[in-house]
Symmetry: none
Subunit: 225 residues, 2 copies
DNA sequence: CCACAGGTTAACTTATCATTAAGTCTAAGT
DNA sequence: ACTTAGACTTAATGATAAGTTAACCTGTGG
């Protein structure tokens, strides 16, 4: 099996640092995206949905802490790993960073080896909830191949339909609020009407022919066979 | 509901360090267990099943790295958080530590504040997958799944009913004034009639079939089995 | 036996979801 | 560039569940 490469976004205003980290992370098999200031980091984070975001605390436009706060406020980045990077060995910043919801904190000057080890350690812990093939009863969802099977019957879902179903099926039984669904599937900035979700739910139910999505009125939807 | 305290095991041969960390962690509400060497750490870890283990790298009997390896080899400790602690700011050790499967690595001298932040950050990440499920006797309230169970029987409550029951069940025994309930469940600005709460209480009692809500005349309601 | 607080019930109002049809947009094929 | 099909969104309508109200009932303490 081939594992989809982890995406790492690095945001730092010093080109040297970007280069070094990019080189090292690429060598380890990570897919690296770079940004040179806070705004660019936010924008690229949204577009590329990285698995790990490395933020320099001192950056133009927006500081790393600000970026982190803005990201954590969005449902799509609640789970994303975030590492702070800073030349300042300032205790206050460090605490603030971790309390903002960062997962680690590394001081410059950076030893690439140590840095890589930390990154690997973080991913090791995360590994559990990775993109994988879901099989619930006679229903199979393969996000890698974009295929759904009901028994032996193969069903084709459209992109949004698929993402929606996959989201729900990742945590069977758990209720997803309409807002959560919008954030996860559509993105935080996109504004769509109230009925859009319903229509997609309907199509999924119709195409699958199995009633596996339960409505919880006033709350949201949940996957349940 | 009583929140189960997180258990933290600290292993270090320096009594001062043990004292300082114990003091700080206890203050944060953690339950602290201490060990003064590698063997004792292993033994107490097995006995108490802590949520987090803090290991000094340099310890008598067994080093922190050895302890970590032995722990990780056991299924029961695959998920346990482990932090290394060391006076040696040695890169080699650091890498070895993280590769052994530690989740973080802190160098002495330790700033208690920073240390606490790191601990909290680790737990925060872990917390995600744990829902705030209330279990009182044979009654289970799962806000994530929006499900209530009485014994094995699943009961479906409407949104307001659920919110009301959850509010009361969060602090069993405590009496909630009618006003408190209105504010919490309905919101401060919404104005509803006097009998509205009663009706909802009634429906909950009816649906659950168990009398778990007690009326305190002239005051309010409380959850009680 | 009355007053008061809450319980009960059914009728009423509102919110929310399902369904359908129709419109917009995008990308592939000719 | 034109056509077309599928994906996605929106809007209108209807159904149903949720929430509220009001009128009446019950029980308890003075």
């Amino acid at each position: 099996m081939e594992t989809k490469a982890r995406k790492v976004l690095i945001a730092d205003d010093e080109p040297d640092i970007l280069e070094i980290l990019k080189y090292n992370l690429s060598n380890e098999g990570y897919e690296v995206i770079t940004a040179k200031d806070g705004d660019e980091a936010l924008e690229k984070a949204r577009r590329t949905q990285p698995d790990l975001i490395i933020l320099d605390v001192m950056m133009p436009k927006k500081t790393g802490v600000e970026v982190c706060q803005m990201l954590r406020a969005q449902a799509a980045f609640k789970e994303t790993l975030i590492i702070f990077l800073t030349a300042v060995n300032d205790e206050g910043t460090q605490i603030k960073g971790l309390e903002t919801g960062a997962d680690d904190y590394v001081s410059k000057p950076i030893s690439p080896k140590v840095f890589l080890s930390r990154v690997n350690a973080l991913f090791r812990r995360l590994n559990k909830t990775e993109a994988r093939i879901l099989t619930i009863d006679h229903l199979t969802i393969d996000p890698e191949r974009f295929i759904i099977k009901v028994g032996e019957q193969e069903v084709t879902l459209a992109k949004k339909e698929f993402e929606l179903l996959y989201l729900l099926a990742l945590k069977p039984g758990r209720v997803f609020l309409r807002n959560e669904i919008l954030n996860q599937v559509w993105g935080n900035d996109v504004i769509v009407g109230d009925r859009t979700i319903d229509v997609h739910i309907r199509k999924i139910r119709q195409k699958l022919g199995v009633d596996c999505i339960t409505t919880v009125k006033g709350v949201g939807y949940k996957f349940e066979l």
